[in-house]
Symmetry: C2
Subunit: 280 residues, 2 copies
Amino acid sequence: MDELSLVRLIRRRAGKSAGLVLGIGDDCAIFRPRAAEDLLFTTDQMIEGVHFRSDASAVEVGHRALARSLSDIAAMGGEPRFCLVSLATPLKRATKWVDEFYRGLLGLARRTKTALAGGDLAHASSIYCDVIVCGALPRGKALRRDGARPGDDIYVSGRLGEPWDRRIQPRLKLGQSLRGRATACMDLSDGLSLDLHRLCLESGVAAEVDRVPVATGSTLERALHDGEDYELLFTLPNGSTAPKGTSRIGSVVRGRKGIVRFQGKLLPPAGYNHFLPKTK
Amino acid sequence: MDELSLVRLIRRRAGKSAGLVLGIGDDCAIFRPRAAEDLLFTTDQMIEGVHFRSDASAVEVGHRALARSLSDIAAMGGEPRFCLVSLATPLKRATKWVDEFYRGLLGLARRTKTALAGGDLAHASSIYCDVIVCGALPRGKALRRDGARPGDDIYVSGRLGEPWDRRIQPRLKLGQSLRGRATACMDLSDGLSLDLHRLCLESGVAAEVDRVPVATGSTLERALHDGEDYELLFTLPNGSTAPKGTSRIGSVVRGRKGIVRFQGKLLPPAGYNHFLPKTK
């Protein structure tokens, strides 16, 4: 299949979205924003041998590639509008693999009302993709990382330390329900210890963690440090009611900014860091 | 340098843009659109060994990665607002190479008022990057590929068949000046023969090319089929004045859609196709 035919095939399945004036097929996609909305933008790479194994199912890789970016939209309290997908594959995998990848990606796109607005196709010696998602929400209502205050309670959704090979379900509804309530919010993509450290750095505070909800079959170590949970980490004013499906794990405190303690002991930021080889 | 330090360094140099409420450092960038504007989105990959050689200068790769996406914004008549940059590099090139790449990219970003709003960093066995640009223009004024009509004159900017290693200068001012004048427009990224074929397909027309402006030291063959010119290809109603720095190359005609003739002979779409190995 040549590039034009492949683009035609993808275009037929791309879906529509409120505001998307022109999708796949021109130099750019055209989007007409609504009045009184802010737009959110995020992008996440999925690289063979780094983010997924060469024998991973193309359907799962496609689902996950979009799910990771949707999780960032959820973390800001947004609703997804459209995505752009850049994909590079070896020539010999150009048809079947690409078709299955788009099947996985577009299945999740339909369920979350995310139109495929465009992207870029190329060949490369191994598989690489990058998914950009645009989300929207009422003006000024985005959930940021920098608003946590001493005294706030810290929460996570779901349970942490889940194995890689489950399907990520981006917490879009939860994120939207936290607008105007959470003082800070982010998604857990690099492990609780590193991500909570980042939230505390941005907010200029420290944190005390008392307990974490560990996934069945997982360990406390993995729940604290493993990346790729894609649950939401957020803070609420002290005494708030926990939203359904979430657990209070500790409190925001004054202290040297970025410092996180777990049951009284220093918890070093040991999650996934792309520029430091893992020590274990 | 670890990921947090690298992100801090990039963040300090990222620039500002009208409408960019929140840039690098959170789950998403936040952009507040202006009333009565449409937004444009495009994304382009640059892959080591495919789009550039391993010994290419990092500064040049950074410049080119942004220039290619800006060229798509120019082709729609837009003004750039911000970009997102996804970059994966081998660990051993994580510091110096990345620093020089951003120097090249941010130099062009400053000159074109494109803020760096965010992105994603990862490691990989070879260098990969993907640059997304958001542009804006008055509502309904985007230059599309599908408006060429029989009788229109066909134009290109500059001269075609330039060697790879020059710095691309995206034709932003020209694109903006064509709003409300050009009936169709696109940028030349895969060679005139393939790109004009695509424009004709989208517009449901055919084309007769009489002559093309060949770059000094290049050949007619390269001017017709080589990719990577990044000049604008556009159509104007018959009898329009040629904009400065552009040449009329032929006419839009009725006929089987997508068919392009050069001096009376069929010109097959032989430009760069990522999914067909080049036959030369």
